[in-house]
Structures are given as C-alpha cells and as structure tokens.
Symmetry: C2
Subunit: 348 residues, 2 copies
C-alpha cells in the first residue's frame, strides 16, 4: 500500500483548517448572499418557503471507519441531508458543515471528507455557506445543516395522506441494509488479519447502496414535470415500515401494503438467502435506502404507472383499519416499526 | 443529596425521546411555518435576509460536565448560537437541536438539557422547529442551528470596518475566562474528595459569566433605537485579540486598542491577582464572554459615549499600521490571536 502523507491538524489550527478546507468555494445560488467567514451565513428567500434540516453523525454509531472511506462518508453525510430537502418536495441550496475530530485524524483525512461533501454538493447545486472545525476527545462527529427552498403551495408534509391514496416508493429497498450486513461480515472475518481483500464481486450494487447512496432529485423533478403533487412524502432512512407508520400516524390514516409489490433488487434477494434472512423483513425494516416514499390521489394512478423507477406498493385506508402488510398468500400482518434505531439497546 | 430519578433512554427509544422532549412546543414567530416532526422545518422570510449559524459542542472539549450542570449547558449552547445572530445585527427566530448521548445519560438528564435550551429560547423569542436525538459511544455531543432575520440593508458583517472608525465593546471582558479558571481549580482541589462545597462567595459574577453567559440583545436594540448602524460587528467568543484580528483582516485595516479603556470587572481583577495572571492578557485572550465587538464611524462618537454598557476601546487605522495594543505607559505591542483555540495542542 502506498504511504499516505500525514499532516497534523495542529500545524494549521482551527481557523487555518477551516480556511484551508473552504477556500476556493464559490457561491452559485441566487439565494446565497454571504457564505463562510462571518458569524452566520446570509441568505435571501423572498418568494419561497425555506426548508431547514440538520443531522448529527457520530463515529461508531452512524458510521464505521474500518470500512467506510472518508470521502464516501462525506458524500453520504451530505446526501442524507439533501435527501431530506427533496423529501419535502424542495430544492437543496445551501449547506453548513461542522466537524469535530480527534487527534487520530490528519489534514489529509479532512480533505478527503470535504472532497466527498463537495462532490455531493456539486451534483445537487448546493453552496457550502458555513463551516466549523473543532476537536473531539474520541472519534469523529459530523453535523450538517442543509437549507433548501420550495414554492409555498408545493411543500409536501408527512401529514397529508388521504384514504384511497396510492402508496408509492422509488427505486428498490433493502439493498443498503444488505450492503451493511456484507461489510459487517467481512469486518468480522478479517478481524486480526491483514492484506486480505474480501471478495465483493457480484455484490457491488449492495455496497454502493450502503456506501454511496443517492438522493432522488430525479424523482422530484419527474413528479413536477408530470404535474403530480404528492399528498405526503418522506425519505426512507429508517426503513419502509417505520416511515409508513410516521405518515399514517401524522395523517391519521391506516394503510395496506402488498408484499409482492415491494421493489427489491436481485442482488438483495440473493444476499438475503445467503444470510438466511427473510427478504421482506429486510426490505421493510432495512434502513438507509434514501428512496422516496409518497402518496398520491388515486386519480394519478395512470401517470404513476408510466413513471420509471416508481412502484405502487399499496394504498391508504381509514385509520381504524391500522397499518398492515398483505403477504403473497393473502395473510395480513400488522406493520411494526422495527426500523434501524440509533437509540435501541443493541446500538448502545 | 436527594436521590435523583433515573429513567433509561431505551425505555422511550429515539422517536419517543424526541417526541417527549419537544411535545408542547408552540410556534410563536410568523416566520415559523412548520416545526418538529417532518424531514425539514418550513420557514417563510419574504421580506428579510435569512441568517443561519450552527455550532457543534463536544463533551470534554467545549464543556466539562463535572462542573457544568446540564441545564446551564443547554442554556449556554443555545445562547452561543443566538449571540451569533445578534452579531450580524439580526433577530434570532428559530432553532434546531441535535443531541447524541451515551448510556450514562438518562431521560431526566435530557429533560434538564432541554429545559435550559427552552429558557434561552423563550427569553429571545426563538421557536424550536426541529430536533433529533441519537446515541453516542462516548459522552454528549450537541449540535445547534439557529436561524434569524435581518433587514436587507442592516446586516452587519466583519468586513466593513473603515479607517478612523471607533472600536466599541459591550459589557466587560475576561470574566468568563476567570470563571473557568476558578472552576478548574476547584475541580483539581476536590478531585477524589466528596461532599465538600467549594467556597465561591464573592466570585459569583465570574461563575455566572462562565456558566450562564448572556446574548446582548439589549445592545442590538439600543443601537437600532439610537439609529447607529455599526460598520462591522462580531461576538467575542474566542477573545478580544482574536476577534479584532478577524475584523481587521477581513476589513483590510489595522487597529489601535488602548489597555486603559478595556472594560474589566472588579471581580475579574481580584481573581487575576489571586491567580497571579496578567489582567490585560486575560481580558484580551480570555474567551466565552459573548460580548459584542463592533466598529462605528467616528461621527457616532457622542451617541456611543451616551450609551450605557458600551465602551470605546480604540480606533481603526490603515492596514499597514498593523494591529496593536497601547499600554498604560504608552508602549505599543502587536496584538496576537492567542484566543481559546479548540484545536490547539493543549486541548487535544
């Protein structure tokens, strides 16, 4: 392996580091009035609603640096926040990044992390308007705030789903979770050994879904082009079951989801079998797919049927019918939010 | 000591905890359209510039829970961000809070932390519009994003100071730093011992400045009432020297600051003597006072002289004259940014 250059962060100091990481950043969006370098960023949104979302990612809980390269981590951390803006039917415009790092990290590490963040920001036309670096006693913490815009009458909340609405989901589900299982298994196998490259051939899609998830800008754009305004929407970060229950609780409705309609990739299915896991459970409860879950009035059925990359998986019901999965053999099971829970016992 | 109730966070889970902490929160500001509970907060700022600032605070680096009660920590974490909005000559309006906690914390701890945040938000008319809790492997991390507004032509940056401008500072300096020294000393004295109450009498002001700093809303309001628009402004979080150099670098100017005019409280002076520290150095380099440092045109001299709680400490010069302190005996010393640096060696 090539020797990597390692420059201690202390050689630059706090102000030097943030200056180094953010220099050369240009503001491209009309709404970005002033970026890095003052007490606050200055933005202007005269004609739009402003959307603000934030995420705090902790090493060892939200990511594992033994198998996540820092560039991928930066990319994913940015994407997760960008995805939240799309999930409101908005367009991401600005980002503020705070990082706290322990001594094990060097300037080159921070450059990698920032490079990943910047790639994601460029892809989604997001300006980096603020940043901060400080130290941490243990590990890496990343806090990202993403700001976006939406037309006043186009913001889509979680609470607007209506009885008979169709439930739709983009892409496929469970792959990011299977990618995580795969990485965890290889980590366990390789623990203590060196210079052995795990064989991931034929499983690239699962790894990509876990390590480099995408935010579904394309779906938001297509919905707008086709003049479809979802009645409710959110992105799937904790798992389909959990997110569906958020929409149903907040909209005061129930739902029926059909097992046979849940979109699952071939590699996900193969991997679930290899791990002896129930495939539907993986698709329902595996998190981090960052696909969009949304509901539309039943009158949009034909338009949605035409849409590439979107599947109708069920429909909204009266609240007293509860939330249930209809299996392939016609049985009804109550949905449970077993989603990936960063505060559950196993993660502590 | 009274036995405190301890309820494990796992009994509520992630969604339960955030729901528990944020329930009953009402939105009061016109600009707050939708708060906690969706992928992003929704705000509306048709006629104003939007200010956004964020801070990431890590246990053991930015705060020490051995002497900082969680309620004070919450209050201070909120104030630090609110202060950044005032420092742009804005009004804080919304806040989003993310916390990551290890198992040593219980629900009652989080309630304390939130109670402190809420007190600060109520004092400054800030709506809590979003939040998130997750776990951490070690200690507590708090990420706060504060959003505010300012009239388009009233935003004050760091880069507008002009030659001959007067340099002004609110309140007094160095007290928060002396408060920290005091707490650190008592911590060292008491290490290993129990139930001994340190004697802080006569030093209450220093402790209050460290544990419960205030954001200078009153100064921003007074400046507006008196029709004074500063040419540059920032809040003093890292120390007067360091902040002055930020203003001078960004404004491409130099400055002269007079030792005799730097406002210092009596308790700070007494304490510096007790610690055998140079008082001016403490006032120049001690951080966390959260006072406002600003420059105004020399034509505002009389108005500023009338203002209670504001002192003129020097003036802006041409850039090539550099940044210097004029001591009581007329000597000139170059200012150095020795400010509290969270990435410096000693803090790692």
């Amino acid at each position: 392996m090539q020797e990597r250059k390692r420059t201690e962060i202390a050689t630059l100091g706090e102000f030097g580091l943030i200056k180094h990481l953010t220099e050369g950043i240009e503001l491209k969006n009309e709404s970005s009035k002033y970026g890095v370098g003052d007490d606050a960023a200055v933005l202007s949104y005269p004609d739009k609603q402003v959307l603000v979302t934030t995420d705090l990612l902790m090493e060892g809980v939200h990511f594992d640096l033994t198998y996540v390269p820092l560039k991928h981590l930066g990319y994913k951390a940015a994407i997760v926040n960008i995805s939240d803006i799309y999930a409101m039917n908005g367009s991401p415009k600005q980002m503020i990044i705070s990082v706290a790092v322990s001594k094990k990290f060097c300037i080159e590490d921070m450059e990698e992390l920032y490079a990943g963040i910047q790639i994601a920001c460029e892809e989604h036309n997001v300006d980096i308007v603020g940043g901060d670096t400080s130290s941490s006693l243990t590990g890496l913490a990343i806090s990202i705030t993403c700001i976006g815009e939406a037309d006043k009458d186009k913001v889509v909340y979680r609470n607007g789903a209506k009885e008979t609405d169709l439930i739709c989901v983009s892409g496929d589900l469970g792959a990011a979770y299977m990618g995580l299982q795969l990485l965890e298994r290889e980590k366990a196998v390789l623990r203590g050994e060196k210079e052995v490259q795990p064989d991931f051939s034929g499983k690239e899609y699962l790894l990509e879904r876990q390590l480099k998830p995408e935010a579904r800008k394309d779906i938001i754009e297509k919905l707008a082009q086709m003049n479809i305004l979802p009645t409710s929407m959110m992105d799937i970060s904790d798992g389909l079951s959990s997110e569906l229950m958020h929409i149903c609780t907040q909209s005061k409705v129930g739902c029926r989801v059909y097992e046979e309609h849940i979109p699952i990739d071939y590699q996900t299915a193969v991997m679930a079998e290899e791990f002896n896991m129930n495939l539907t459970t993986c698709a329902l409860n595996g998190g981090e797919d960052y696909e969009l879950l949304f509901t539309v009035p039943i009158s949009e059925h034909e338009k949605i049927a035409e849409m590439e990359g979107v599947k109708m998986i069920g429909h909204i019901t009266k609240q007293d019918l509860g939330c249930a999965l209809i299996t392939r053999d016609g049985q009804e099971f109550e949905l449970k939010a077993q989603g990936w829970n960063a505060l559950s016992e196993k993660n502590n």
